[in-house]
């Protein structure tokens, strides 16, 4: 078996499950430790470095980190990573002094950005401190994109948006509101050094069934309806509302309906619960508000009588499911369900009616722009895409990461460097040993269960449309939750030359991660040879060089390592050490485009 290549940055980065899963690679364990020490401002800044919007994301992030969290493999639920982010944002001091400084003297490069959503804002955040002049053209009268006019204020208050968007706009971004870009060609003609398209995926999907046209007055497209509520154009809805679809947009539509007058709201799902797209927590929140979620109902037609929408006919479905996949389905019966209004929440698409198709920006067969996954450049050099506009609807944290990457490309591009010339992520390690049995992190395993977020009582919740539902963690909840983090960035690092094969580490490990073994022919066989068979193949094995005394191998299954440090504490020869890994993530500012400027002359 080949020893694990740990010099390569990926290995130890991958061990930090949450940070690896976060599209922007937020240094989660580090900010959680800072919160544990009461250093909220520092924790906020660690977050801001990579995800830019800690207060926003601390409330509404899609949280790809949480399902990845190691804690969920040794306990019922993951660490409340997202909620802790909000704790940092809620309790920080004024951070303005700590924001990157924007030079007075500009670098002479002008960038145009289409749309003031999170993707464009991320680009500005990275480029403004480097002396760029950024101009954002926004169709609407406020910046923020979907975060502002689709995510309801009861989940994400306007003040939080204003504050965090403000930090970026106040760097001196030239924000042109009510300024839809109607022609890419015209924009290009204005002579910007580069153009970034962050215009989102603004088109809600249609459901063309019989009765759609006749019932149009009471049939709404989810994202348009949410926008119209957000801007105060829509203030009411009928008593009985059906939401078609069960993704996150559906969750916002059903909960918003309850706040503008609906009495009975049903979310209609075609498939069983295990196939829902909405996050568990959004489903839970909707059900807490008495929204009914009805499974196995496939829409068949809108029923309209005398020009008035009466409801919808559904086909009741039955599915055969094997290994979590639907293998067959059949219609059991048809049923009519009454409704005054129907909201369609079945997805969104990109739409670029304002980009001429003859200017070198290629579109694929689905009419999506052809965009490079690494550089975010389109087929027209100097034109970059990011956020939902690039590859279709995703989420805020992905849009931010696209922004960071596009900023690097733009920085290279305008300085005549290849956009593909990008610095790799690297990992730095440093020991956390303080004394013989002392480590500079809280390594004792705390068995506490995940803290539950408190909500505003149902009776008060609907009085105002913008009452934030989640109250945030109390000091006690925070103190408990931070200790649930296993500090996965404090790595177990092995030095084969020191090991005397005494087995102490293997015997002390509380989760049977370690084995000294003669090895096996291949990794699958090796996985079965270990102290506890390593069944989770998503998690890597850490394989040492041959040991001095017997030539055997030390193998660690990373799967359920608690990062408790007991192996290192027990090892008589310090062959195991606990070392903090710091993932160095390169941003635009780290890409040295003007070496001649930095060189001193004379």
């Amino acid at each position: 078996m080949k020893p694990t290549e740990t010099g390569d940055s990926e290995y130890f980065h991958r061990v930090v499950d949450c940070q690896w899963a976060c599209p922007a690679h937020t240094d989660i364990p580090e900010y959680i430790r800072l919160i544990a020490q009461g250093r909220f401002t520092d924790a906020y800044m660690v977050n801001r470095e990579s995800n830019i919007f800690p207060g926003i994301l601390g409330r509404v992030c899609d949280r790809p980190c949480e399902p990845a969290c190691r804690r969920a493999r040794v306990d019922e639920k993951p660490v409340a990573i997202c909620r802790l982010k909000r704790v940092a944002a809620d309790h920080k001091d004024d951070i303005r002094e700590r924001l990157p400084k924007v030079p007075e003297k500009k670098n002479g490069k002008r960038i145009a950005l289409v749309g003031a959503g999170c993707a464009s804002l991320a680009v500005c955040n990275d480029l403004m401190p480097l002396g760029y002049e950024c101009t954002i053209f926004e169709r609407l009268s406020v910046p923020g994109g979907l975060m502002r006019y689709n995510i309801p204020a009861f989940r994400l208050p306007a003040e939080v948006l204003d504050e965090e968007i403000g930090y970026i706009i106040d760097m001196g971004v030239d924000l042109r509101l009510n300024a839809p870009v109607a022609s890419m060609k015209a924009l290009l003609d204005e002579g910007y050094d580069a153009v970034f398209v962050g215009s989102g995926a603004p088109k809600g999907k249609e459901l063309n069934l019989p009765g759609r046209e006749e019932g149009d007055a009471r049939i709404h497209i989810g994202i348009e309806w949410l926008e119209s509520v957000a801007f105060g154009h829509t203030k009411g809805i009928g008593e009985k509302v059906l939401i078609i679809g069960v993704g996150n947009t559906a969750m916002d539509c059903c909960r918003t309906s309850l706040r503008v007058g609906a009495e009975s709201v049903k979310v209609m799902a075609r498939k069983p619960r295990q196939f829902f797209k909405a996050s568990d927590w959004e489903l839970e929140d909707a059900e807490e508000e008495q929204v009914e979620i009805i499974i196995n109902h496939s829409p068949k037609e809108f029923v309209v009588e005398d020009g008035q929408l009466k409801g919808m006919v559904f086909e009741v479905m039955e599915y055969d499911i094997e290994d979590g996949r639907i293998t067959d389905s059949r219609v059991v019966e048809e049923t009519f369900i009454e409704a005054d209004d129907v909201i369609l929440a079945i997805g969104q698409e990109t739409a670029f009616p304002w980009i001429e198709r003859d200017i070198g920006i290629e579109f694929n067969e689905w009419d999506e722009p052809v965009v490079d996954r690494e550089t975010y450049q389109s087929t027209l050099s100097g034109v970059f895409f990011g956020g939902d506009a690039a590859f279709g609807p995703e989420n805020i944290i992905w849009a931010v990461e696209h922004g960071h990457q596009a900023a690097i490309s733009i920085h290279n591009f305008v300085h005549d460097k290849p956009v593909t010339e990008r610095l790799p992520r690297t990992v730095k390690l440093s020991t956390r040993k303080m004394g013989i049995h002392e480590w500079s992190y809280s390594n004792d395993f705390d068995p506490a269960a995940r803290r539950q977020m408190e909500h505003v009582p149902l009776a008060e919740r609907f009085r105002e449309i913008d009452t934030e539902v989640e109250l945030g963690f109390t000091a006690e909840q925070t103190a408990c939750e931070v200790e649930r983090c296993l500090n996965c960035d404090i790595q177990t690092v092995f030095f084969d030359k020191l090991c005397i094969e005494c087995d102490a580490c293997i015997d002390i490990c509380p989760t049977q991660c370690l084995t000294i073994t003669p090895g096996a022919d291949n990794e699958d066989a090796l996985r079965q040879e270990l102290t506890a068979p390593a069944e989770n193949t998503d998690q890597p094995l850490y394989i040492s060089e041959q040991l001095e005394q017997t030539g055997r191998l030390m193998v660690k299954d990373e799967n359920v390592c608690l990062h408790c440090g007991l192996c290192a504490e027990r090892c008589p020869t310090a062959a195991w050490d606990m070392q903090k890994s710091f993932v160095d993530i390169p941003y635009a500012r780290d890409h040295d485009v003007m070496p001649c400027r930095q060189r001193k002359t004379g």
């Binding site: 493999r73 005397i500 015997d507 068979p533 359920v560 007991l566």
Partner: protein
């Protein structure tokens, strides 16, 4: 030693034995031995063996004398009975415990100092009485607890940490057990659980005194160059004469064993361990041959390990003494204590 207790964690993928217990349910208190001490590995091997055999902890009694080794019963099977006796006196306590409760599964843990220096006489008589006990000697060649003086198992020529050579002869507990008329003698190494765990299981299943000498290096006082009980020395010089294969309970009844080539040992869970011979000329059923083999290899500087001698037909302590067939606590009080008149009668007969 560690300052953090090994935490209890309910991790996914944890395995359970037929009693529904995880291996962690067979552990004991936090070890206070030096990090890297061989004794902790023996502890881990015992935990593994008991877990795999799915023995209920409360069926077990663990006893010891004094020494680092004798501390180890505190570190496994929290739910078992136990007695930590005075230096070298574990066999007396074990004899008493088993006399009273013959159904207990008994483990005695001792050290080379505890059994071969101060407790040599006790060791000898436990062996020749064949009390039904797994008798483990965690052998490191020194008195670890009292800071590393040579013990009676230190080899002549082996050097202390300060560089002083031992010039007295060494007692080999395996050879001693065989010549004392023992019924089971084996040797293993704390750094080789593949060999050690099956030997522990076989010793537990053996009806009589199973002596298991485990070379268990003292990392603090006897793991240096020049020591013949270090990890490195033991690895280089130990030579196994048997290899153990486990036959699962279901197959065990059907299987045919080639008595010439292998020693089958039936375990508590009805599985069988076959100790296959690695050395063609080794015969663990022949006392004279075993002693000769051990002596020949000692002279060559080899540490012979494996199941080295067994005679499962030798009568054990209760058979020899014709004692009651059930534990004393299961006997009616009137029968157990027939009263002053009965004693008077008995004494009259003896006058």
């Amino acid at each position: 030693m560690s300052f953090i207790t090994k935490p209890k964690v309910e991790w996914s993928g944890q395995r359970r034995n037929p009693l529904g217990l995880t291996i962690r349910d067979y552990e004991g208190g936090m070890s206070t031995l030096c990090a890297g001490c061989g004794h902790d590995s023996v502890t881990a091997a015992l935990v593994q063996a008991f877990w795999e055999l799915a023995i209920k902890p409360e069926q077990v009694i663990k006893m010891s004398g004094i020494g680092c080794s004798s501390k180890t019963p505190a570190y496994f099977l929290n739910g078992a009975h136990g007695f930590n006796s005075v230096h070298g006196r574990m066999p007396s306590v074990a004899t008493g415990a088993l006399a009273a409760h013959r159904d207990l599964i008994a483990v005695g843990i001792s050290g080379d100092g505890d059994s071969l220096s101060i407790g040599m006489g006790q060791f000898a008589h436990a062996v020749r009485r064949n009390i039904n006990l797994l008798y483990i000697i965690e052998n490191n060649g020194v008195y670890g607890l009292t800071k590393g003086q040579f013990s009676a198992s230190a080899d002549p020529g082996s050097k202390s940490k300060a560089g002083i050579e031992n010039r007295q002869q060494a007692i080999d507990p395996v050879a001693a057990a065989i010549s004392l008329g023992g019924s089971f003698a084996a040797r293993s190494f704390s750094g080789d659980k593949k060999q050690l765990v099956p030997l522990i299981k076989a010793g537990l299943a053996h009806p009589g005194c199973a002596v298991l000498d485990v070379i268990s290096p003292c990392v603090t006082f006897n793991d240096h160059e020049g020591s013949t009980k270090s990890y490195a020395w033991t690895r280089e010089h130990h030579e196994s004469v048997t290899v153990a294969d486990l036959v699962e309970p279901a197959e065990a009844i059907e299987a045919n064993y080639d008595e010439g080539e292998e020693l089958p040992v039936k375990l508590h869970d009805d599985s069988v361990i076959r100790f296959r011979k690695l050395e063609a000329d080794y015969d663990p059923g022949d006392r004279a041959h075993a002693l000769e083999y051990l002596e020949r290899h000692r002279a060559l500087g080899k540490v012979v390990t494996g199941l080295l001698y067994r005679d499962s037909d030798l009568p054990e302590f209760h058979q020899l003494s014709g004692t009651a067939l059930q534990p004393l606590r299961d006997i009616e009080f009137d029968c157990l204590n027939p009263g002053a008149d009965a004693l008077e009668d008995l004494q009259r007969k003896m006058r």
